[in-house]
Amino acid sequence: MAAKSGAPGPTEADLTQDPALPPVALDPTIHEAEEAHWTPVKIAIWLAIALLGGLSWVMLAVVRGETVNAIWFVFAAICTYLIGYRFYSNYIQKHLLRPDDRRATPAEYKADGKDYAATDRRVLFGHHFAAIAGAGPLVGPVLAAQMGYLPGTIWIIVGVVFAGAVQDYLVLFFSMRRGGRSLGQMARDELGRVGGTAALIATLTIMVIIVAILALVVVNALAESAWGVFSVGMTIPIALFMGCYLRFWRPGKVTEISIIGFVLLIAAIIGGGAIAGTEWGAAMFHVEKVPLAIGIIVYGFIAAILPVWLLLAPRDYLSTFMKIGTIGMLAIAIVIVRPEIVVPAVTEFASSGTGPVVSGTLFPFLFVTIACGALSGFHALIASGTTPKLIEKERQSRFIGYGGMLMESFVAIMALVAALSIDQGIYYAMNASPALTGGTVQGAAAFVNGLGLTGVSVTPEILTQTAINVGEESIVSRTGGAPTLSVGLANIMHQVAGGSGMMAFWYHFAIMFEALFILTAVDAGTRVARFMLQDTLGNVIPKFKDTSWRAGAWICTGIMVAAWGAVLVMGVTDPLGGINTLFPLFGIANQLLAAIALAVCMAIVAKRGLFKYIWIVAVPLGFAAVVTITASFLKIFSSVPGVGYFAQNAAFSKALADGETSFGTATSVEAMEAVVRNTMVQGILSIVFVTLALIVIFTALQATWAAWRNHSNATSEDPGVPSKIFAPSGLMATPAEKANQAEWDKRPAKPRVRGH
């Protein structure tokens, strides 16, 4: 583990700034003095934030009346985020990362006006947020709501402050100090070949699982819904039109075409309602799960080999537009409507582990189910991809990395509130697998009423009426979280705009919103995975390294699509329900990736010799490792068939061997054989994930130990280059930053950088 250079960082002389320029950085003592300067107004504001946050937590955790108002979730979240950002991220900045604004960022010293371009911090915050926010934080909390509102709320809010935002901030910072290197490259640099290779394979397989399960969420949301199939299907011609518009007619008019696309999208949603109402429309767009899954697989392959400008780029514009718009709209609506939540703080499923939505007890399954909203390993790929190449000044990494993740957590809180705001009887009827409800309103009502939960009951009439209200044929067993969230969103939004007549519109608006960025994630994920596979195969067959080789690209795309497609079909045809068996695998995969990212960060911190502050990384790493390894072991070794894949496998194998023709929720020999096959695949995947993650964590511990023994103070950072620009670090410029900015604004024109 030899370091590239012996010095702990660039020496003072390296970074002497151009004397002709105003200061490119404020002295750290100025920042500290500003922070330590507590005026009475500042004290009053922070006291108010602390009191309001404290009161909100008391209302949520202690006062537990019959109901609790949703506004307390919002206040608890925002106040905790503000305190975490102001104090904890500041502590990390000051002691662990120590950004130095005298150093140029890759966006400055590698500037090419394209991939590397210094971007205004507020704009980059928007870009980064749009890149990290996806369906995960919307779906996970909905499924975790079966354990009650409190465990999920605590983990989403506390988890982000101490784990998720820390991971994003650290990875962003370390990648920025290394010219924007990817997580995989950093893993190889820090952990050596074995750890690096394990990290690469883990990333690739995790990507396959994540794409497969996101696709499963879409299939479950659209199957047997003529309205949904039509309106989401229409996004393809809309995106193609937008792509051609930008390519041939008006290049670069992004805002204009996004607005046109948005209007067409709304037209597609409204038109979908009309078409699903006609007899031929209902017949034509009513698609069963399996053909729909095959359709998405074919679509995924074609989308991934089409040029980016035709489909991916325009849909990405639409998806960003919808994402930021809808999330903002939902936040405002929750504050206006302030729904009363009647769900208990903690339900018996938290301890019994027999919840119908996802099985398993609170520890560890709550944490793997919520995943993205509190800690998301996938973000490490973004934070070490595009964002570090665009960041203007080092100190801004805190606002963008830590702050961006706080925003994502807030999205998760809103999704949780939306899911909690709907009637609990409806919630369970929608989220119990078809194996439990039989897929009928009578079966669902009987199942929900038989759960024996106090205050939870539903009638077949209510379920039928709700389906009519949201414009669906049925809402029974619409698992996957997306339909539940859509009912919740429709439930909140129709109180603000449109009344009950608009519920169906809002429901399909929400389905569209989720489907759009899931499809983008499927397409982008397939492409990224294809390049990783080509790169790996290229080590054996050099021709594969040539990414412009058409046949190679098609073969590798085909392999990746086949991989996630197989898992998708397995989920769709699973006699046990699909989501309840596969979603834990998704959460485990994501959290293992987070553990890998944190392990790489720990090795970097250790190499720098910052052992006094290594707990900042070690605590979330330890927690993520314990949660995911426990969850994986339960999935592998548990003797409870609902939890352990191999226990389930053994139970069904035995039944088959005994000559039985139905067992549990499987009603035929084929279904029983499918369970045996699926559980074997899922079990093997669990073993692969946990083994790879253990290798990475072990090599990281080894690197850390070696650094401790050698009293390492080395670094693998790129050498520092003096900066020639200045910009404030947070959302708002501080008085000292404003004064310095004024010095820069006095200069006649931008400095001419000398030519290459």
């Binding site: 006006g113 704009v123 030519g755």
Partner: protein, 69 residues
């Protein structure tokens, strides 16, 4: 007058933000960068708007960016 100016500056700020977040200003930024490096009448001319936007999406073909779950 104070209110009108304030409204105008907020609207301008909002327009700037939407334009920047959507990425519409990418070509302007590229031009500014190109000029600062090469000067206005350099031997290496800047790409035209059409060339720039084609190049931008075509480079994504070989350098895909992940999207989160």
């Amino acid at each position: 007058m104070g209110v009108a100016t304030a409204v105008r500056s907020v609207a301008a700020g909002l327009a700037w933000y939407v334009r920047s977040v959507s990425g519409e200003d990418a070509y302007d930024r590229y031009l500014a960068h190109h000029e600062s490096v090469h000067g206005a009448n350099a031997a290496e001319p800047a790409m035209t708007a059409r060339q720039f936007w084609r190049d931008r999406t075509d480079r994504q073909d070989t350098n895909p960016q992940g999207r989160c779950c």
